[in-house]
Amino acid sequence: MRLLLVLSMAVSLSCSDKSGGTGSPPTGRTQVEDTAIPSDTGEDTGLISFEVTGLIRDADELPVAGAMVLVGGEEDTMVLTQADGSFSLWYTEVRLGTPAIVAAKIGYRANAFEFFGPDEPIQITIREVKGPDNVNYTYQNPGDGEDSMEENCSHCHTTMVSDFMASAHAEATRNPMLQDLYAGVSRAFVDATSCADAGGSWELGVEPGTETGTMEKCYLGGGVLPDLNVGCGGIGELPCDSPSLAESDRPEAFGACADCHAPGINGVAGGRNLHEAHGLAFDIGVHCDTCHKVRDVDLSQPPGVGQRLIMGRPNEPGTGMFEYIPVFYGPIIDVPNVVMGGSYQPKFDSAVFCAGCHEQEQPALIEGTSLAPRWADGLPVHSTYSEWLEGPYNSDETPCQFCHMPADVGATNAVEITKPEDQSVTFGWARDPSNIRQHLFRGPLMGEPRLVDTALYVSVDVWSAGDSIQTTVSIANVGCGHAVPTGEPMRSVVLLVEAEGECGVLMASGGQTVPDTGGALASATLGEEAVAGDGLLMWPDGAAVAEPGQIIRIVRPTGAFDDYEGIGAFADPSMGAEDKGMEIFAPVGDLTVVAVSELGLELEGDVDWVDGDKLYLGVPWPEAAVDGQRSLPLAGTAGTAFARVLLDGEGNRHVPHYRAIDMASDNRIPPGSNALSSHSFSLPEGCGPVDVRATVLYRPVPMHMAVARGWDAKDYIIATGESRWEP
């Protein structure tokens, strides 16, 4: 049985100090099943209790000062060693299993001494994790999370691995959107003809996840490799991942994507080409052995492995099944199992650890561009950590892990086969559930209810003002420790506001509308790209994609700007509304596409439009909207949207962050705050009562990018609110 073999080995190794130390043989302890806390008053509680003294040394037999020494599982007993490495602590037998005295120190592997006794000083050797980070180390396979008989993480942490496998961390490298944006390809076109018709180039390039494999792809729309490098990926050039590319033209700028998305690439940590990820590094992304090889976090450095995440892969030659002496960094002090090589790093339990990647201030990456002057310290393209830091959930009690790695009430400890009577060096000690974290890395759409469903609360105020209905919608971020949305700046939240009276749906007549964030099949400015002719709208770009039944939403710039609360730099109270970058476009009306011809669009409806109005081609919001339905083009609808709008050097909005040099606006909803928007609707006489309904959609991927790249983009209904006006 492999299981027994491995565990036996663990026991024998963990007890190596027995022979060399001065510990006594087993003391004939009696099995005590009472776990009552002993009296600290000297009262006889009937439990075995005695002083333990000893010395903590390193592998060179030098005393270790400041080492943590404790009874396994009993953090309250912990003492620090003196300058000479000595310690004294009080042991009371309160647990089942085999007790041990554990020594640990940051930067060292924990070790333990079992079978100790009174009046018998003990010695424990803790081995320092010698630097530097070992680039020759091969990241280990955590297993599949199903087979607990394998000699890997799944052996003892089966459910943790299983949970991880279903997480976004596991998909971090192979995520097709990442791969497409990196190589600069679109999967919307699957053959040479359609690709060429769309203006792309059908070429051979790297098959993601393979070491040498290639595949034909449609290179279209730009990407990290073609946009950041010269000599490849341009017009008339081979793709940057083409196998035929000359050595001199091969890309050297990789956008630091792999530093967070593919930390498991063996070799030098950081600065790697994402296409070097294959095998484990591709298949399971940010996996067990990558996170638990992070020795420390240095927030002063750029995100990712080899920089902010300081790696500490072991160097010291191992024996037997171990090429190197194992080390796994983690948040528990007393993990002396030598298979783990547990090395205490308290940052695993704090938000700082997550900031290793979920906080990013980026320089201008495209050659020839520079950041707008206000971003002297870098453009904040990811700021989840700082959003939490500045919000009401900033507390040691509620770091990121609190929600995203919820406590596990079903296990004795992280070694899920541990029974209480098995507590020992090998199996660890029973932990409070708050110290057993599920490795779900729960994202916004995970859980029941989904995390994102617990984030927002919508309230609607409605009143009449003569011939119109006025409404104010408040979206409060009540349940989230960071802004909504957060993380990847492609994410947005769209608010739709509808009013319906007895006479039917009311037309929006004033207030805010959904900006381009809401998506459009095409957009134009009347009098410029589109011209109103004799019964037709001359709009070539619109006509190219329009179909009967679609609608054109017309909105008008007001010159007024939304003075939203903002977050990060946009929360600066001295910043004027105009500088916050969200001009209010008022609703003008909708026209329905009746026919499309080479001459233009034949439209139905009555709209008083003027040159300068903005036109968005979209589709009606369905009466029976479904959670998780395909994203719809909704720009111009009564409502608004919340997003961090990144700009590239050409002024394009909603660009992927590797292209960004500036931020037009950031009205995402801070934690503990609410966002307000105002809207009005025409109220025909006698149409009341009127119901106003607000629907909030979470949109992980911008619609325009999804269409261009051939991605499956969905909208999730995450909150609603409604209110009625009675005449």
């Binding site: 049985m1 299981l3 027994l4 009472d34 776990t35 009552a36 806390i37 002993p38 009296s39 600290d40 008053t41 509680t45 607990s148 008989m149 089966t158 459910t159 009401p392 959930y393 900033n394 507390s395 009690e397 509620t398 609190f402 919820p406 406590a407 009430v409 079903g410 296990a411 004795t412 899920e416 086969i417 029974k419 098995d422 029973a430 409070d432 559930p433 708050s434 469903d453 617990t454 984030a455 927002l456 609360y457 919508v458 309230s459 105020d461 104010t472 408040s474 409060a476 971020n477 009540v478 349940g479 934690p671 503990g672 705050s673 609410n674 307000l676 909150a719 609110g721």
Partner: protein, 379 residues
């Protein structure tokens, strides 16, 4: 203070004691020198030989072969499948409750959408409740707390909280769904049951149970876990077991010298009590509270002036920490219930503003009126 005898304890609690045998208390808590216990002199009786618990704790579910099992079974699987197999009833069909069960009635009620509730406690005969902290009782292993829910005269469910082990989280929680004949009830799975027996009443999921009877990691709670069986809730002279009765029975490791009462009169006292029962289980000052909100609506023993209460200090004139809306600013705006977030959230249902977030689908009209009147009365 005189020490009660076992005779008193048995008389008051109806516990299954050996006839005529005096006994001393169970193991006192650390530092206990109060001499609390059951022996009148505290000098002769041997707790290990003279006392016998009528009902031993249910067994924490056993592991099978470690090489075959990858997860420990949840605690509730150690509970009987049928309610008739718990100690609650002698004759479940006849509705005859076991005399060892102590019926009790908290003086402030948790709103449960107008459900009628009955409650019983079983405290092992040979044990005392650790009351070194009178606000957070440490129930002995083997304690069972039962709560029966009925709607319009129909028995729907009976919930159990049982302390199975000494670790703070070793409480099993489950609910039993009554059959149509009300002759038996069967344990419901961890997902709970919506609209039980065709009513609007939901049997909570395990997650929902833990969100009040758990700790911060699961939504909120208090170390005591058993929320309605407490010093404040039993400091009354009404029916059922009271704090005075427990003291007289010697069931508290640290009996108070005088029976505390909620000495805040009238509207203030009623409002604080309501918040205590309906909100304080999560919003309190313990490490198990819902984090990280500094909102304390638990009423501590001994508070004698409304301005000294945690509820007053952490609400009146205090801006909301993680909730803001166009309608409200502070948790409580003195004199203005319509501007007070606390009342606003109490009134909401079916969305993320709802408070409490579990256990209710309809707001409590009497509770809303009480708190509104209280806020309106504030200077």
């Amino acid at each position: 203070m005189s020490r009660p005898t076992i005779a008193v304890a048995c008389f008051v609690l109806g516990l299954g004691c050996k006839s005529g045998v005096e006994r001393s208390g169970s193991k006192p808590a650390a530092g206990d020198d109060s001499g609390a216990g059951f022996s009148p002199g505290g000098d002769t009786a041997d707790p290990q030989t003279d006392c016998e618990n009528l009902f031993e704790p249910d067994t924490i579910p056993a592991w099978e072969d470690a090489s075959m099992v990858v997860r420990p079974p949840p605690l509730e699987e150690g509970l009987p499948t049928l309610l008739s197999d718990t100690p609650l009833f002698v004759d479940i069909a006849a509705g005859e409750v076991h005399p060892a069960m102590v019926e009790f009635e908290p003086q402030f009620h948790l709103w449960s959408d107008n459900a009628d509730k009955r409650r019983w406690a079983y405290i092992p005969e040979c044990e005392t409740i650790g009351t070194a902290d009178l606000n957070d009782w440490d129930f002995p292993v083997g304690t069972r707390l039962f709560k029966e829910f009925s709607l319009d005269g129909v028995r729907i469910e009976t919930r159990i909280l049982e302390r199975m082990g000494a670790e703070p989280w070793q409480w099993a929680q489950a609910s039993y769904l009554w059959n149509e004949e009300e002759t038996e009830a069967t344990r419901v799975g961890p997902d709970g049951l919506e609209n039980a027996k065709g009513t609007t009443h939901d049997i909570p999921s395990k997650t929902a149970c833990l969100s009040c009877h758990g700790s911060a990691e699961f939504g909120g709670g208090r170390p005591s876990r058993g929320l309605g069986f407490s010093a404040v809730q039993l400091s009354h002279s009404g029916s059922g077991m009271t704090l005075a009765g427990l003291v007289a029975a010697g069931k508290l490791s640290h009996p108070p010298e005088a029976i505390p009462t909620v000495s805040i009169d009238g509207l203030d006292g009623q409002a604080l009590g309501y918040l205590h029962a309906n909100c304080g289980q999560c919003h309190n000052s313990t490490a198990d509270r819902v984090a990280p909100i500094d909102l304390d609506l638990w009423l501590d023993v001994g508070v004698s002036a409304v301005e000294d209460s945690a509820a007053w200090r952490t609400t009146v004139g205090q801006p909301t920490a993680v909730f803001s809306d166009q309608h409200v600013s502070d948790r409580i705006v003195a004199g203005s219930p319509e501007d007070s977030a606390l009342l606003y959230r109490m009134a909401e249902r079916g969305n993320n503003a709802q408070m409490p977030p579990v256990g209710t689908e309809f707001s409590d009209p009497d509770g809303l009126a009480l708190i509104a009147e209280w806020i309106r009365s504030m200077p």
